[in-house]
Symmetry: C2
Subunit: 152 residues, 2 copies
Amino acid sequence: MSVQGSHGHSHTKSQQSLRLTKGAKKVLEVLERTDELSSAQDIHGALRNEEESPPGLTTVYRSLESLVQLGLVQAVDFGDGERRYEMVKPGEHHHHLVCEKCRNSVHLDQCLVQQLEESIQAKYKFEVRGHILEIFGLCEECQKAVAPAGKK
Amino acid sequence: MSVQGSHGHSHTKSQQSLRLTKGAKKVLEVLERTDELSSAQDIHGALRNEEESPPGLTTVYRSLESLVQLGLVQAVDFGDGERRYEMVKPGEHHHHLVCEKCRNSVHLDQCLVQQLEESIQAKYKFEVRGHILEIFGLCEECQKAVAPAGKK
DNA sequence: GTGGCGAATGAAAACCGTTTTCATTCTGAA
DNA sequence: TTCAGAATGAAAACGGTTTTCATTCGCCAC
């Protein structure tokens, strides 16, 4: 994901429902029950299939923006030109191990950068405010699928 | 930067000059004397200013692709929708501390992911093949410029 | 040298995710 | 009920990148 220090989290369940836009609520609902990362268009597509009057793509983008702002959703960039989103524990973030074969992803349970933040700060005199980190490779299942077949 | 395991480095100075396209050579020249990251359009612009018959944008893109393939250049993605490039020691890679204020960047002298690769592999049974990692914040100079002014 | 063929090149069009614009509709406070 | 600001949507604009396709280049065989 990508992290940017400044957040303004001060949300409770009730506050959320209060401040969230109609569109944002629908978007959040989709993300709530999706465990894989979703692009704006994925979300838009999902809503088109289940809502009588689904929000437009523009609204989905705007909703995502405010949800990210609120710290309820994180945006992830794999460098393929398509941003993906997923719910997070408010104000938290995490990174992924992304399988290049099946495209599924696993969450890293701790942030490698945060751990090293102080040492970076000390060594480079650089004030860390955000970072992006994603790891690509093969998940356990796909390793099995590849190896026995004989390496190409 | 973004790393993808598979490379086919087997280059010597002479081999390079042999296999490199005319356009690729010009692109490499620009990157050779630029210490900051350059976008395709930056490179194209630079060449337009100094070459009699500069390569077209398309050729710049194609050249960059093959240079990355050869391991002579790395592509870096900051998640802002514009890819940037820079020369690297053949086959190596590095990540950046990018100042959000002045936009300059410093190289990390070691890769945080490679250090942890084995433990990730062991813990998650995930075969690491590549990764992206960039850190954003304030460089030393820009910290000074901000702090004395009083925090907003 | 000359013919010929695949690689390289360039201009323009296509792509595609995202952002803007702008007019319309909704919502909540007065 | 009225009104102003927020939310929404459709369509256009954007911007970096990739494709397409016709042309030119470079090099080997003859």
